[in-house]
């Protein structure tokens, strides 16, 4: 998995940075989903513990 996108420079063989790699997009979506899932679990457990203590 690449972090950046490159192309060959027209002036020679050197690689040219052209931007971020779009292969990372699913990872950013997954990060958002993971945060939401973990938060739901933590809050559900915390609320259940709060109800038990009352």
């Amino acid at each position: 998995m690449q972090l950046f996108r490159y192309t060959k420079s027209v002036y020679g063989g050197q690689e040219q940075l052209i931007g971020a790699s779009w292969d990372l997009l699913p990872w950013f979506v997954a990060a958002g989903a993971a945060f939401i899932i973990v938060h739901v679990i933590v809050m559900t457990l915390a609320n259940a513990r709060g109800r038990e203590s009352h």
Partner: protein, 220 residues
């Protein structure tokens, strides 16, 4: 309601029945900004995902609108709103720690925040950095396109510099996908509905104000 009864119920009796949280212009700004960011993300990523259409013009025009909205918000926040209410202070670090301990270990309940809690302030800081990075890099990219106002000039920067500008824009955009997901999630949580409602109707109730906020830290 008597003062004693108010104290007993923990309700700020001197607060109005409806506590104004967001003025109409600020709500309008929020929803217009939300729409522009969603249009920008859609025009950016749908073509990458295979849904091809003429996206460049919509994208840069909406980007210019976002730049204008950001400028409006900065000026309004500095001169009309209480910008200090969004600043992260040492108290917020303490509140964050207490909140985490309370949630994870059942420690003492956290202190009620002012208008915005520590997590909201952190979110605002994060999204501000990302939006400013995307807008700044996006404005520079306008040099590469023909518009009714100017002719393109891609030689303003070297190829290496353009690569960095595009990389900043791309990473900021992808990170905004994550942040938008998180923001919509919190807006839909039942325990946060009073805040979501306030972004439509502008106010929260006296009871919500007393329950969720410290009247000393957010004076109405």
């Amino acid at each position: 309601m008597s003062e004693l009864l108010s104290e007993k119920k923990g309700i700020a009796a001197d607060a109005p029945k409806r506590v104004m949280r967001h003025a109409l212009i600020d709500r309008f700004y929020h929803w217009l900004m939300a729409a522009t960011i969603l249009v920008l993300l859609a025009t950016a990523f749908l073509p990458i995902l295979g849904i091809k259409f003429q996206w460049v013009e919509i994208h840069w025009i909406t980007g210019m609108l976002l730049a204008g909205l950001v400028l409006f918000h900065i000026v309004r926040a500095l001169f009309w709103l209480d910008w200090r209410s969004m600043m992260i202070w040492l108290d917020d670090g303490r509140d964050l720690w207490r909140g985490m301990r309370h949630t994870l270990n059942g420690g003492a309940p956290p202190v009620r925040p002012g208008k915005y809690n520590a997590l909201q302030k952190l979110y605002h800081l994060g999204i501000a950095i990302l939006v400013l990075a995307a807008v700044a890099s996006g404005l520079l990219m306008l040099l590469k396109i023909d518009t009714p106002f100017w002719r393109r000039d891609p030689y303003w920067f070297s190829n290496d510099t353009w690569g960095i500008i595009y990389a900043v824009h791309g990473f900021a955009a992808m990170a905004m996908v994550t942040m938008v997901m998180i923001h919509i999630y919190f807006a839909l949580r039942p325990d946060e509905w009073y805040l979501t409602r306030s972004m439509f109707r502008g106010w929260i109730s006296r009871k919500e104000y007393s329950e969720y906020h410290d009247a000393e830290r957010w004076k109405t």
